[in-house]
Structures are given as structure tokens and as C-alpha cells.
């Protein structure tokens, strides 16, 4: 092979030839890490491909993949791609109805599923998806007596495929040779906040380009290790566990089950790790909870060294150790021996070279925690439509507020309305069967419209502030990004929800919901008696506490020339918790800002007047379905604002 | 034949002493399920305390009382600091604990009272009973007979105590079923203390008798080793078993020594009772008077 491999099947062949004996994949099964070398993987993929060919899977057709991260499911993707077919991984926890849409949309005939659970789900859908004629299953447990004609075990497919391959030696080689980097390799469905999910068609070329770019940017090598445990249908998993593994040639390990991920993580000790902020947050919560059970001495030790880490850890991680005093460096080294090292170890992060997070905003405390204990956690930015290949924070140049710099080959333009437009080697070829959507997102000049609003800071790092459609302007023309402000507020443990107003108004004002658990705890430690949410929310002490939070947000905002004008002028603490039952939140707990503004118009107006107090009555629905009225006299507070950094200089 | 009788009677009488030690043991085992390996050490400690107190110039009767007091304190302390802490532990742990207790007492006794062998004078001479010697030409020690009588009285007293006092009845209830006894409000811990105190008293009597015979020395501890085969024969939970077992062991070991010993060079007293007990175990694992145990699954 002289040319650089440019499709996934060719990449697989290349690895099988270059490093046949090296482990390509592992799975914890039957108590040990079952391992497969590149040669074995290539052989199995060949058999699977031939088996699928026998089943009639042809170029351009779609193969559905449903299940947890299992080696053979990944191999089935490769097998489909060998034949020029397109792999369509589905979310394994999706309910049957959601799955039905995708199966119909992608005209799935053959599906590869993990186990009985998924088989049951698909069989249930057979009447809605008449095209679905063959279901291949990986784990035969419990399926012995199903006797359904559409069902076939994957084992049988491998066996028959191997026989077929022996009988038709040249077939697969020819099929692979026919493939081109411009072929669609995989179709990933975006959940889409509105409307039906859309199938994003990605070619071999774009995923490989994205993977190569990433690998070059952060120096991935075949020695790297990854634990793959995020849904296979998610672009992040596809990029790292599949595209990157095949491009770079490192080993991917699959956990034993969902319950054992943390143990498996600890056993494997991967060298890089990718998770949404939510996962990192859960981990930190666990750390905090588990440390609370520790003895006094251990807690004190932990507290002390975490203090040291907060002070100097991030600087050391950024390679700016020179700015840390020798004493602190020694303390940090001691802390590394006593706390950080062991902590990384129990989290399974000892060998971690890199950790990525993305997909949502990450709180500063969370981000700093991981970085300060010596984990090189970085944010990246991208979408399914760009193979997550847009921006990434460079090692040693990490700025929390930003998502980093454009990756090699990416150009970014900020549209007039603040929307981020991207040209990337990882751009989608189209939305499947949705020319309208394709045209909307991908303009004639080849810019992909991300729908996010953002801007570049002075150092050329991209900052994402909000969804483009939510970004507004204050009366004086200053940019106003409500979600950005709300997120900043919600990073405080005391604040559960925040709603920011300001579009078309003179200034920014917010509603706040306190986190009863956190504030209640805070109150108890101050021996502050309270009775229920409304009472607690109205306490002057609580207002003071939240006022401090708002003040900190304003201070942050002031440092930002673009958003400094939208500091929070006034705020109030709502007398009731925003609740999906009252339609104030979506079921996924996103604030319905318009609805809230309308429902509490009287409060909004009060905020923009100079009133100190406002009476309000709200109808609520209780858990048992009864309706009632909550009434309160709400205090309105003016927050401290700061002069802008630029203005101060001027 | 006459010789045989002499040996037999001698054996039976020393067997009474074994019974006495075994008796203290059975009391404790019955009431608390504890295999009290320290019974021998208690005998030693009791005797040593008695002669020690006597050595301070205390009159005989008071010394007996004080020594008894010491055994009560010991019993209470054992319950308080050992048994209570080990409630719910497997029996084997309690057994080990009593071995520990035995070591402790073996150290504590001489530490307090010194270790030289001392005599106990009960005022009964260890000489053949004249009448028997003259009439039947049988040599039976006067002392042994006295000792046997004392034992008999003690056993009878204990039997009455168990049958006819409230504490005795509670004790038997505890022995039958700990949980049930607890549930009807019998204070286990109090019962244990009493039992250990009674066992201490029995040990004191045994210690006095043994001590009077052979002097009070560390070898007294070893009487527990004599008592063990007695227990196996008689069953761990049976008071009559302890008596009968003691008599069997006492007589057969003497007879065996006399009639079989010379074939193998003598000195078989040390192990013969064990072998006898073992053989017996193979036939009847629960002992002479023990209860048959059915494994429930």
C-alpha cells in the first residue's frame, strides 16, 4: 500500500499489515480483558462483511447498529463500510417510537443489535418498519426460543461470512477498492432541540481528516488507550472510539457493563478520556461525597492540599511553574504524592495524558478542579455536522472562558448577528433526505451555520456565548447573551435556575431560584431557621448571599469588553421553584424564557421600575395534581456593577 | 482381687476430684456455651489465693471466704471484660479467650502470691482408714474418702440449688435456649456472673482438696487436662455425666496403669483417658449423657 489510506476499511487493512500483533481492541468479558489484535479484527471484519454481503447489504445501503459499546458492533460498522454501505448507529436507550422514526427515515433493512433488550424493541417496531427484515444479535442470551425468522446470531454470520470469503476470495478486496473517501461512511442522527432528528451524512474523508487533525494537534500515537463507554450514536464516541482509533491505530477498550464503568476505567487507566461536563460533575460530586465520610485527619489533609492545588495547580499544569514559588512547588509535589496522585489513581486517571470535555458549558470550579490535580482537561467545540472538528484548547494555553483556537484547516467567520460560521475539513456532506435543512445550514459559499453566537477574544480564542437566536441587544446596542449569564449564575451551587431579561431593554435583570439543598445547608450552619422554599428564598441573608454571587458574575462580565455592558443591574429571588409541571421549564429542564417573562410580567416590570417590593400571586400545580396559589411579597435588589475594563484604562 | 479392689477404690476416689473440676466446667458450658479451658487455672488461682491469704495470718475460715470473694470478683470481671465483649462471636473464639484467661491467671497467681509450692493443711491425714485396713485389709485413704464426701455434698448442694431456687431455674432456662431466656426477661449477664462465681467456688473447693493432697503448685493447672476426657465421656452439658465420667476416668486410668502400664513401660496415665475418651467418641459422639444433635439444613 503506497498511498495514504483514505477510507476506514483501508485504514484497517493498513493497521493489520503494519502492526498485526498489536492489540486493537479489548472488552471486559468473563472477568478478564479479552483482547483482539489488528490482524484478528481485520479478519473478523472481513468475515462480517462477507456475511452482510450474503445477506444482501449493498453499496449505499444503511446498516443500523444498536447497543452498548461492544467490539463486534464497531466491527460491523467497518464491515458495512467495506461494502460501501453506511453505518447508522442508534441511541441504545432510545424508546421504541424514537427508534421507529430513524429506522423508517434511513430505510433500514438490516440491523445489528446487542442483546435481547434491543431485539425486543425492534421486533415491537416491525409492523411500523416493514422494511426491517433482518436483525443480527451479538449476545444470544435469552433468545434461544424466539424462533423469529428475522433473527440471526452474529456468530452464525461470522461463520458463514468466513466460508463465503473463502469461496469468493477477491470479492471483498474489490469492494474495498471501489470505495472512495467521498463516500458516506456513517450517518449520525442529531437529536435536534426542535423538530425531527436529522441524519447527518459524514464521509470517510471528513471523519478521517478530522481525526488526523485532532491526532496531530494533540500528538496521539498508537500507544494511546481509550475506554469507550459513551453512546455509539454520539458523534464524540464515533470520532474518538472509531475514527481516531482507526486513523491513529490505538487500542480501544469496552467496559463490562454500564455498572462497571468506573471500575473498568480504573483497571484500564486510559491515556485519554472524553466526557461531557455532566460526567465530570458527577465524578466530582462523588469525590466530595466520599471525602465527607473520611476521618477528620484525612479531610483536613485533603482540604489543605486541595487549597494548594487551587492556588497553584492550574499554573503548574499550564507550564507556568516559573511563576509559582519554590515553597508552593514543593507543597504541590507533596500534595501530588499524598492526594492528587492517589486521587487520579482511584478515578482511573493516573495515566491520563489528555481529557476533553465539550457539548455544554463547564463550570469554572469543575474545570479548575481537574486541571489543578494534574489532569490536562481541555474543552473542545464542534458539532455532529463538523465531526467535532472546529476548535480546541491548545495544551498550555487553556482559557476557561473559551473553547480554544480553530484547529488546523478550520476557518471561522463571525456573522453580523454574532453567529459562528465554520469551514472545516469535517463538514457534513448533507442531511439525509433533507435538502431544505442542508441548504439552511450549509450556505453556497460552504459555510456551516452553527447556530451558536460567539466571538474571538484578543488572543484569538473563540468564545461561545449563547444560541444565536437567543442573543439580543440592550437598548444601547450592547450584546446580550441570556444563556451565558444564566450559566454563569448557575455555576454557583446556591443557584439552581436563573432567567435573564434584557433584549430590547435598558439593562439586564434576572430571576433566581435558590438550590434548596445547598442554601438550606448553608442556612443551617448559620443557625438560620426557615420553613420551606418560599420562606428561605425571602430571607435577607439569602438575598445577601445571592447578591454576592451576582456581584461576582458582574465582575467577570466587566472584564469582557463585548459583554461588559450587560451586567446584571437588578435581581430577585422567585417565591417558587420553576417547574416543568407549570410549563416554566422543558422536560429536559431548560428555561422557557418567553413563557416565564409572560407569566411573571408584573415582576419583570417591577425589576425595570425602581420598586423595592412587589406582591405576586401565582397558581401552582402540586405533585398530587391539586392546584393552589402561592402569594408573596418579593424583594427586589439592586446589584453592584463594575466599570468596564476598557473604560477604566481609558 | 483385693489388689484390684484397692486400685479401683483409689481410682474412684481420685476420679471424684476429676469430677469436681469437670463440674465447674459443665456449669459454665451449660449456662453460656463457653468451653472454659481456664477451669484448671481457676483451680490453681483459687488455691494459690487461699494459701496466700492464709499466709498473711488470716484465720482459716476467713481465708476461705476471702478466696471465695476473689473468685467472685474474677467471675464478675470475666463476664464484664471478656464474655460480654465476645457475645455473638463463634464458640471457638470464646474458647480461645478462655485459653487466654488461663494464661493470664497462671501469670497473675504467682505474680501476686509467689510461686513456691505450698502446703494446705485441712486437718485430715492422708493415711489408710484403720477399720478397712484391719477388717478387709483394704488400703483406702482417709483423705480421699473425706474429699469424696465433700464432693458429694457439693454436688448435692448444687443439684438442690439448680432445682429449687429461682436463680437455678433461670440458669437452666438459659442453658436450654439463650434467645428464649432473653425474651422472657432473664438477665443473661447476671446469670453468667453467678455461674462464673459458682464455678469459681467449685474451683476453690477443688483447689483446696488437690492442694491438700499434692501441695499448691503450678501443676494444679494441669488438672484441667484430666477433666477434659471426663467431659468427653460424660458430655459437656451433663452434671451427672461429669460425676460418672470422673469416676470412670479415675478408675480406668489407675487400673490401666497397673494392669497394662508395665507392657509399655508405664506412665500411661497421662494419655490413657484421652484414648479411652476418643474410642468412646467414635461410638457415641455426644457423650454418655449428652444430647443428640441433628444437623438442620
Amino acid at each position: 500500500m503506497n498511498a495514504v489510506a483514505d477510507t476506514f476499511p483501508r485504514l484497517l487493512q493498513e493497521h493489520a499489515a503494519l502492526r498485526p500483533g498489536r492489540t486493537a481492541m479489548r472488552e471486559k468479558h468473563l472477568g478478564i480483558w479479552q483482547s483482539w489484535t489488528w490482524a484478528e479484527v481485520a479478519q473478523t471484519v472481513e468475515a462480517l462483511a462477507c456475511g452482510l454481503h450474503e445477506l444482501g447489504l449493498r453499496r449505499g445501503e444503511h446498516l443500523a447498529i444498536v447497543g452498548d459499546n461492544r467490539p463486534r458492533l464497531y466491527w460491523c460498522m467497518a464491515a458495512a463500510q467495506c461494502l460501501g454501505a453506511v453505518a447508522v448507529p442508534l441511541y441504545q436507550d432510545a424508546v421504541a417510537a424514537e427508534m421507529a422514526y430513524v429506522l423508517q427515515d434511513a430505510e433500514i433493512r438490516i440491523a445489528v443489535v446487542e442483546d435481547q433488550e434491543q431485539v425486543d424493541k425492534l421486533l415491537e417496531l416491525q409492523s411500523q418498519c416493514p422494511a426491517l427484515s433482518c436483525i443480527l444479535f451479538d449476545d444470544p442470551r435469552g433468545l434461544r426460543n424466539y424462533g423469529h425468522s428475522a433473527l440471526r446470531p452474529l456468530d452464525a454470520l461470522v461463520a458463514s461470512g468466513a466460508a463465503f470469503a473463502a469461496a469468493h476470495p477477491g470479492l471483498l478486496t474489490a469492494e474495498i477498492a471501489q470505495g472512495s473517501p467521498a463516500d458516506v461512511a456513517v450517518m449520525l442522527y442529531t437529536s435536534g432541540t426542535t423538530g425531527r432528528p436529522k441524519g447527518v451524512c459524514q464521509t470517510h474523508g471528513s471523519f478521517i481528516a478530522a481525526a488526523r487533525g485532532d491526532a496531530g494537534f494533540d500528538h496521539f500515537t498508537p500507544q494511546d488507550e481509550l475506554l469507550s463507554y459513551l453512546p455509539m450514536a454520539w458523534v464524540g464516541d464515533h470520532l474518538f472510539s472509531y475514527a481516531m482509533a482507526l486513523t491513529v491505530g490505538f487500542c480501544v477498550s469496552c467496559p463490562e457493563s454500564g455498572e462497571t464503568v468506573s471500575t473498568d476505567l480504573r483497571e484500564i487507566g486510559p491515556t485519554f478520556y472524553f466526557a461531557p461536563p455532566r460526567v465530570f460533575e458527577n465524578l466530582l460530586t462523588q469525590v466530595t461525597i466520599r471525602m465527607q465520610d473520611a476521618g477528620r485527619f484525612k479531610r483536613a489533609l485533603f482540604g489543605f492540599f486541595m487549597g494548594v492545588a487551587r492556588r497553584v495547580g492550574a499554573r503548574i499544569m499550564d507550564g507556568r511553574a516559573a511563576s509559582v514559588s519554590a515553597g508552593d512547588r514543593m507543597l504541590y509535589a507533596l500534595g501530588d504524592l499524598l492526594v492528587y496522585g492517589p486521587l487520579r489513581n482511584v478515578l482511573g486517571m493516573s495515566r491520563l495524558r489528555l481529557a476533553y470535555t465539550g457539548g455544554a458549558a463547564i463550570g469554572p470550579d469543575l474545570f479548575d478542579f481537574y486541571r489543578s490535580i494534574g489532569i490536562n482537561l481541555k474543552q473542545l467545540y464542534g458539532q455532529t455536522e463538523t465531526c467535532v472538528y472546529v476548535c480546541k484548547q491548545p495544551s498550555g494555553d487553556v482559557k476557561l472562558e473559551t473553547v480554544g483556537k480553530p484547529l488546523p484547516g478550520v476557518t471561522i467567520r463571525i456573522a453580523d448577528n454574532g453567529e459562528v460560521l465554520v469551514r472545516s475539513p469535517g463538514l457534513l456532506s448533507a442531511y439525509y433526505k433533507r435538502p431544505d435543512a442542508t441548504a439552511e445550514s450549509l450556505d453556497a459559499e460552504g459555510w456551516f451555520h452553527t447556530g451558536d453566537a460567539g466571538y474571538f477574544d484578543a488572543d484569538g480564542h473563540l468564545r461561545i456565548i449563547d444560541r444565536a437566536k437567543d442573543v439580543g441587544r440592550l437598548l444601547n446596542g450592547t450584546l446580550f447573551a441570556p444563556q451565558y449569564i444564566e450559566n454563569k449564575l448557575k455555576f454557583f451551587p446556591f443557584i439552581k435556575e436563573a432567567v435573564a431579561f434584557g433584549d430590547g431593554r435598558a439593562s439586564c435583570c434576572v430571576f433566581l431560584n435558590i438550590d434548596v439543598a445547598a442554601v438550606g445547608d448553608w442556612a443551617e450552619r448559620r443557625h438560620l431557621a426557615y420553613g420551606g422554599y418560599t420562606d428561605l428564598a425571602g430571607k435577607p441573608e439569602v438575598y445577601e448571599l445571592l447578591g454576592q454571587c451576582v456581584e461576582k458574575v458582574n465582575r467577570d462580565l466587566a472584564a469582557d469588553p463585548a459583554l461588559g455592558g450587560s451586567q446584571i443591574r437588578r435581581f430577585l429571588v422567585l417565591h417558587k421553584e420553576l417547574d416543568p409541571d407549570d410549563d416554566e421549564l422543558t422536560r429536559t429542564r431548560k428555561v422557557r424564557r418567553g413563557f416565564v417573562a409572560e407569566k411573571y410580567a408584573i415582576l419583570v416590570e417591577a425589576l425595570y421600575s425602581e420598586l423595592e417590593q412587589q406582591h405576586v400571586q401565582t397558581e401552582v400545580r402540586f405533585e398530587d395534581g391539586r392546584r393552589g396559589v402561592v402569594a408573596a411579597d418579593l424583594r427586589l435588589c439592586t446589584a453592584k456593577c463594575f466599570t468596564l475594563a476598557g473604560e477604566r484604562a481609558a | 482381687m483385693q489388689f484390684f479392689l484397692e486400685v479401683l477404690i483409689g481410682g474412684l476416689l481420685s476420679g471424684v476430684m476429676y469430677s469436681l473440676v469437670a463440674l465447674g466446667f459443665v456449669l459454665i458450658y451449660k449456662a453460656s456455651g463457653v468451653f472454659n479451658f481456664a477451669q484448671g487455672a481457676m483451680v490453681y488461682f483459687a488455691a494459690l489465693s487461699f494459701v496466700g491469704i492464709l499466709g498473711l495470718g488470716v484465720p482459716f475460715g476467713l481465708a476461705v471466704l476471702l478466696a471465695f470473694g476473689a473468685m467472685v470478683v474474677l467471675g464478675v470481671a470475666t463476664e464484664r471484660f471478656v464474655l460480654r465483649k465476645l457475645v455473638n462471636q463463634p464458640p471457638i473464639s470464646l474458647f480461645m479467650a478462655t485459653i487466654g484467661l488461663a494464661f493470664f491467671l497462671e501469670g497473675l497467681g504467682p505474680f501476686l502470691w509467689g510461686n513456691e509450692t505450698r502446703e494446705v493443711k485441712l486437718g485430715i491425714a492422708d493415711e489408710p482408714i484403720a477399720i478397712l485396713l484391719e477388717r478387709y485389709n483394704l488400703s483406702v485413704s482417709q483423705f480421699d474418702l473425706m474429699a469424696a464426701l465433700v464432693c458429694g455434698v457439693l454436688v448435692a448442694a448444687l443439684a438442690l440449688f439448680f432445682q429449687h431456687t429461682r436463680i437455678g431455674r433461670a440458669l437452666r432456662a438459659v442453658a436450654d435456649d439463650h434467645q428464649a431466656a432473653l425474651s422472657v426477661g432473664i438477665p443473661l449477664q447476671t446469670i453468667w456472673m453467678i455461674v462464673w462465681a459458682v464455678a469459681g467456688f467449685v474451683a476453690l473447693v477443688a483447689g483446696l482438696l488437690w492442694g491438700a493432697r499434692n501441695g499448691v503448685s503450678a501443676s494444679l493447672v494441669l488438672v484441667v487436662l484430666k477433666a477434659l476426657p471426663v467431659l468427653i465421656l460424660g458430655g459437656f452439658t451433663s452434671v451427672p455425666g461429669a460425676i460418672v465420667g470422673g469416676l470412670i476416668v479415675g478408675s480406668t486410668e489407675k487400673l490401666a496403669e497397673v494392669y497394662l502400664g508395665h507392657y509399655v513401660g508405664g506412665g500411661i496415665e497421662g494419655w490413657f483417658p484421652y484414648v479411652l475418651a476418643l474410642l468412646f467418641l467414635l461410638v457415641r459422639p455426644e457423650g454418655l449423657f449428652g444430647e443428640k444433635h441433628i444437623d438442620r439444613v
Partner: protein, 260 residues
Amino acid sequence: MSAPQGAVLLEVQGISLSFGGVRALNDISFDVRAGEIRAIIGPNGAGKSSMLNVINGVYHPQQGVIVFRGQPRARMNPHAAAFQGIARTFQNIALFKGMSVLDNLMTGRCTRMHRHFLWHALHLGPARREELAHRARVEEIIDFLEIQHIRKTPVGRLPYGLQKRVELGRALAAEPSLLLLDEPMAGMNVEEKQDMCRFVLDVNEQFGTTIVLIEHDMGVVMDISHRVVVLDYGRKIGDGTPEQIRANQEVIDAYLGVSH
């Protein structure tokens, strides 16, 4: 559920058992066909557990014959029963508390491990290969019962429901042809019961294991067993399919009729 019409694997004929003067079983006869799930039900003290204990030889009946695989014998002995392919679980979990789940399951395979202890001491050659081979089999059972996450936990630390599952695993490790389950679902919550039911059915279907089961939960018994024997005070008062048992007046009077 239609009952498998296999050959008779086990037959008990005229079994009587008494402890001291107490009659536990009185002239009991029934058969178990290969591949079926056979339930024994009855009120407390009906002699159900005693019946199982007779089948695998823990108790020796005073009268009667046990015919296993066509071989009649007056009494089993537990050790021989194990080698014949009879495995069981106990009403009060009888796991080896000081050992891990894995080790407990490994003991279940001891009838199939034949290496001399000297090989074990050296941990070389045949013994090592044997050990690893059996470990692989046991891991399949661990996988089957979904107890991967507790593989190396000492069983004493496990909650009750999991212990029951481990005990089932230990019995399965022997790859028995006849599996005796003594109240496998006693003391479990609904979810645990459902899991256990699934396992029992899966064992029966996937491994073709014949199962004799004692259970209190009538719903469960009627759902999963092919045929049911009803005992009351040591006598057999009913025998047949769940439907027949439901219709049996004597059973209703003796057992089902009593509010439970």
C-alpha cells in the same frame, strides 16, 4: 406452559422419614421428568425441605426407594449425589461465608477437578491449566447470573438477594442434571423475585436442567413450574399441572383456602 414429556429422571417411591417419633414424610411418591420444572409446595412444616434432603441424601428415609436415572437405591449420600449430577441450594443460604463469590462458585466445580494436591502446591502444569479452564467456565456462570460486579467480594458482605443468586451460581457451576432449589425466592423483593424467576427459567431452557423447586409464592410456582406436588403434614395431597392443582379441592382446603 406445556410440560416436557421427557423420560423420568427421578422417581421417589413410598418415602417415609421420621425424626425420633415425629413423622416428617409419610409414604410420598412422585416422579420428575427430564427437562421439567417440578414444584413442591405446601404449608410450613409440610416436609418440603425434608423431601429435598432425602433426594440428595442429607437425610436417610426409613422406608422407600429413590430411583435416579433408573438406578433404585434406599438412600442417597450427599457426596455420591453430587457426583451423580444432583446440585442444590438451601433454604437458609449455605454459602461459604469466608470466601469470595468467585471462590464459592469454583467450589461448585470440585467434582470435576481431579488434580493431586501436590500439583496445587506447585501451582504448575496440569493443576494450573485445570484451574484456569474451570475459572473460564465459572466466569460464564457469573456472566449468566449477572454478578460480574461482585466477583471478588466476600459473600458475607453481600445483601441477601445477591447471596441467593450466588448460591444458585454455585449449584450451576456443577453443571447438574438435576437442580434442587429450596425456596430460591424466599425473602426477596418483587424485583429480585422477577430476576430469580428469569434465571430459573433460563437455566431450564438454556441448559436443559431439570429443576425441583420448593417455593412459597404461589404466583411464582404456578407461573414457572410444569408440574406441582402438594405436601401437607408429610402427606402428598395433590400432584399435577398447575391448572389441576388449582382445581384440586383437597389442596384448596388444606392450603390455598387458608388465608396466606
